[in-house]
């Protein structure tokens, strides 16, 4: 009982918060990219930037996972295809030729990366939300509605 009380007080003080590193170099770099959109409401702007941070966190984890499991090629393919700007995106056939893989393997690797990315995003979201209800609401806002 006493432990529960202590635990509750700890949570109230922010004890369950996920600690994120304060990376000023990155932060300054990021600020250079952020334009305070004139047409956007502050809520919309915040939601967009929040999504961006969450995706960046998820991508970092995804890369670490790939490195830990010897799937660097998977990640590079993901980077070249899904993280490329629209105008720089290559085709599956070009990737297949460049990496000496079949188109079917490219499809499979990319599908696996997308699945892992989605899983990590939802894991991160679960870490930073307090309740299941909040998690579901944020997940629907993130993945279920248009911005």
């Amino acid at each position: 009982m006493s432990n529960e009380k202590k635990s509750a007080q700890r949570i109230k003080r922010g004890g369950d918060a996920v600690l994120l590193p304060l990376d000023f170099t990155t932060a300054e770099g990021e600020l250079r990219h952020i334009e305070i959109a004139s047409a956007d409401s502050p809520d919309r702007f915040f939601a967009r930037e929040w999504t961006r941070s969450l995706f960046e966190l998820a991508l970092r984890s995804l890369r670490e996972n790939c490195e830990a499991h010897g799937k660097q090629v998977h990640f590079v393919l993901f980077q070249r295809y899904d993280l490329a700007e629209e105008e720089n995106r290559v085709t599956y056939a070009q990737l297949a030729a460049e990496f000496n893989l079949s188109i079917m393997n490219i499809t499979k690797y990319l599908a696996a990366m997308r699945r892992d990315f989605r899983r990590i995003v939802l894991e991160k979201l679960r870490e930073i939300t307090a309740t299941d209800r909040e998690f579901r609401s944020e997940a629907h806002a993130l993945l279920g509605t248009e911005t």
Binding site: R60, R114, F117, R118, G144, E146, T147
Partner: protein, 300 residues
């Protein structure tokens, strides 16, 4: 990790949503719709070589369960006015998807702008009532009937969509959760009295749909107004008992017969009979004119 541009963030959102389909039966196409529970894609069924619509839940949660339930309900109510379901399955990440017939057409709120005459609108309304009446006969109440959930196909076929919140009357449901759309919701629904919800709750929503269809008309007869009023009565007992009863009363109005919702006066009856029998009215008028002329001629 480099800073992600807006374009890349958008792309990542898209790929996070794309279902990773098992096997190679379905080939995913473009997104064609989006609802509260999930996203609808165009897909190609490679096995049967046909286009289908595929609905995928957004995440693996209560909505996914609800979609599974919706699929089972759709499978139970086979009717030309209800989109047939082909297949249901769970993705590796726990999301539910089901495939159904691909129907091209327009939502009722857009389609009805093309219809001008009251009889056309009423005939369309009767076709909306048909699948709902069929579902009622199977013990299923839709609970969210509204123009956005009704579709008119390219060949005039009417389809009632979105059975995700339908209630199976044989199953008990706790009170509290308010389900439906405010503007079309029966009073018993808006208080969360789920135990009280029955066919008459859909009748209420259909009455609101009828009002919506007639909203662009300058003159609506008293009998038709009474039909709307009876369908949308606050007391459940004062409404039509089923969608079929409502449809039949609308049919009587279209055919120029007296309707159950309205006790007409002798004058109203005469006007109704004459307005639906224009040839008879013309004959009577011609006869009376002739008599008057003969009378005047005899006097002179």
């Amino acid at each position: 990790m480099d800073w992600l541009s807006d374009g890349v963030v958008r792309r990542l959102r898209e790929i996070s949503e794309i279902p990773d389909l098992p096997g190679d039966r379905y080939r995913l196409g473009n997104q064609i719709g989006r609802g509260g529970m999930g996203t609808v894609y165009l897909a190609h069924d490679c096995e049967l070589d046909r286009e289908v619509a595929m609905k995928v839940s957004t995440i693996a949660d209560a909505n996914a369960d609800r979609m599974h339930r919706e699929a089972r309900i759709l499978a139970r109510i086979e009717h030309p006015g209800i989109i047939p379901i082909y297949d249901v399955a769970i993705l590796q990440d726990g999301r539910v998807y089901y495939t159904m017939k691909l129907v091209r057409g327009a939502r009722l709120d857009r389609h009805c702008r093309q219809l001008r005459s009251i009889p056309d609108l009423l005939r369309l309304f009767q076709r909306i009532c048909e699948p709902v009446a069929f579902a009622h006969s199977q013990g299923i109440v839709h609970r969210d009937l509204k123009p956005e959930n009704i579709m008119v196909g390219q060949f005039g076929e009417v389809l009632v969509l979105d059975w995700g919140v339908a209630r199976v009357l044989a199953e008990t449901e706790p009170d509290g959760a308010i389900i439906g759309t405010k503007e079309y919701m029966a009073p018993e629904q808006s208080t969360g009295a789920n135990g009280q919800i029955d066919n008459r709750s859909d009748v209420y929503a259909l009455g609101k749909v009828l009002q919506f269809l007639l909203s662009g008309q300058e003159t609506v007869g008293r009998s038709l107004k009474s039909i709307c009023a009876k369908a949308t009565a606050t007391e459940q007992d004062a409404r039509y008992a089923t969608a079929l009863e409502l449809s039949e009363d609308v049919g009587r109005y279209v055919d120029g017969l007296p309707v159950n919702a309205h006790q007409e006066s002798i004058m109203e009856r005469g006007a109704r009979v004459l307005s639906h029998n224009k040839a008879l009215a013309a004959l009577i008028l011609a006869y009376l004119s002739m008599r008057i002329l003969l009378f005047l001629f005899a006097r002179s």
